[in-house]
């Protein structure tokens, strides 16, 4: 049975689907042969690859020595994945590699590019070894290409995922830093906002503020927009909604430091001024808030006298 299926499988364009185990065995055998060949040519093939990476101006953020060192380990991991068919080790390596090179500014197209270059370099070497025998070449490529594609895919996906993870982490950190909700007195919160407010940040800001009101049992919030140059209509609307939502949760919001542009946007969207208390600057806002809370700030010497 094995021999019969084997010879059939060789003639098929898409052998894997029906030929089953026999084909897999053939592939494994072929891959082993092929890996042996590529391992033998390790030195020159690696150099050829490194040369083409530099020629394509990939990894310019790294020195040539660094490229050569990475090239060696990627090459060995690549062969390992080809040989065993298991991509787990390669996945781990790809993650580790990505973690190291992402902070250096290596881009996705470079990573995809270098893996495709390796695929190309190795395929060329297979061409020159098996090229004379067309049947043998087809068989070898049938075995090599799916494996090589899978590896390229694994590395690229690993890189992109790592990149996305880092970006998400950074975004979260930045967002949390960018909208601190500060309790300055009992029942009084200050929310100083600095920089551009995009819709995502606006949403985060609202959630943090509303939660902050509950946690701190705040009655008054001073939202200071001195550091915000302008907002678009959507964000302006969102700010008004935040003020209303804070009211529903039980806190009054005093908005301070509105730049002329923001004032204009708010007027353009037709804000209901009855629903929004505004004071010129942060200091005035805090004074107003203290008044609302029943505080009276007096210089020390006056109380002593």
């Amino acid at each position: 049975m094995a021999t019969g299926n084997k010879s059939k499988a060789r003639e098929r364009a898409k052998p894997a689907e029906k030929a089953g185990t026999a084909t897999n065995e053939t592939h494994v055998e072929l891959l082993r042969e092929l890996v042996a060949h590529l391992r033998q040519g390790r030195g020159p093939l690696r150099e050829e690859w490194a040369r083409r990476i530099m020629g394509a101006r990939f990894l310019t953020a790294m020195t040539n020595d660094e490229i050569l060192a990475e090239v060696s380990s990627v090459y060995d991991n690549y062969l390992g994945a080809l040989e065993t068919g298991s991509i787990e080790a390669l996945e781990a390596y790809a993650r580790d590699l990505s973690e190291r090179i992402i902070p250096r500014g290596v881009e996705t197209h470079e990573v995809v590019g270098i893996v495709l270059l390796l695929r190309d370099v190795l395929a060329r070497s297979l061409f020159s070894k098996y090229g004379a025998n067309e049947q043998a070449l087809t068989r070898v490529l049938d075995a090599y290409e799916p494996a090589a594609n899978r590896i390229a895919n694994t590395v690229a996906v690993g890189f992109v995922q790592e990149r996305e993870r880092i970006i998400r982490q950074q975004q979260e950190a930045i967002r949390e830093l960018s909208t601190p909700v500060l309790p300055v007195r009992e029942r009084l919160l200050i929310l100083p906002i600095i920089g551009i407010i995009d819709p995502q940040r606006a949403r985060q800001l609202t959630e943090q503020l509303l939660r902050g009101i509950r946690i701190n049992r705040a009655k008054v919030v001073v939202m200071d927009l001195t550091g915000v140059p302008a907002v678009d209509a959507a964000v302006a609307n969102h700010l008004v909604q935040t003020v209303e939502a804070a009211r529903l949760v039980g806190a009054d919001v005093i908005v301070t430091g509105l730049a002329p542009e923001i004032a204009q946007t708010l007027v353009t969207i037709g804000v209901d001024l009855g629903k929004m208390a505004t004071v010129g600057d942060l200091q005035g806002g805090i004074e107003e808030a203290e008044k609302l809370l029943g505080y009276k700030v007096v210089p020390i010497h006056e109380t002593v006298e």
Binding site: T206, E207, L210, R211, I213, R214, R217, K219, Q241, T242, E244, A245, A246, R247, L248, V249, G250, A251
Partner: protein, 124 residues
């Protein structure tokens, strides 16, 4: 789902601790509007901590309730609106239109204690 209504000094306190259907909410509204006269209360504190959602129907019903209670001579403060619920309300453009709100029961009571006494005639 029956909402317990408590009489505390001059106030009625109703505490919604679980999700209410439209019908439950209407029953609660009618009960409070009735009892505010029966107990001669001057204020109603409605704690909606347990409400999972405030949609157009619940907002409308609560607003109507507050207005009806006002017509019967008392005031209403709604407390315990959850942050997510509050923001969904404003995003959907739903407003309690002037019905006062506070953080929780304690703040609701403080609202009544701190406000200046009203001196117009009541409907009792």
């Amino acid at each position: 789902m029956d909402v317990p209504v408590l009489k505390q000094r001059d106030y009625l306190i109703a505490s919604v601790q679980a999700v209410l259907t439209d019908r439950d909410l209407v029953v609660l509204r009618d009960r409070l509007v009735e009892q505010v006269g029966y107990y001669r209360s001057i204020g109603v504190i409605l704690d909606v901590t347990g409400l999972d959602v405030m949609d157009s129907f619940s907002v409308r019903t609560l607003r109507d309730m507050a207005h009806m209670i006002r017509l019967r001579g008392a005031d209403t403060v709604i407390v315990g609106i959850q942050p997510e619920v509050a923001f969904s309300m404003v995003q959907l453009g739903l407003s309690l239109e002037g019905v006062p709100t506070a953080l929780d029961l304690e703040e609701g009571l403080a609202y009544f204690d701190n406000r200046p006494k009203r001196n117009h005639t009541r409907l009792r």
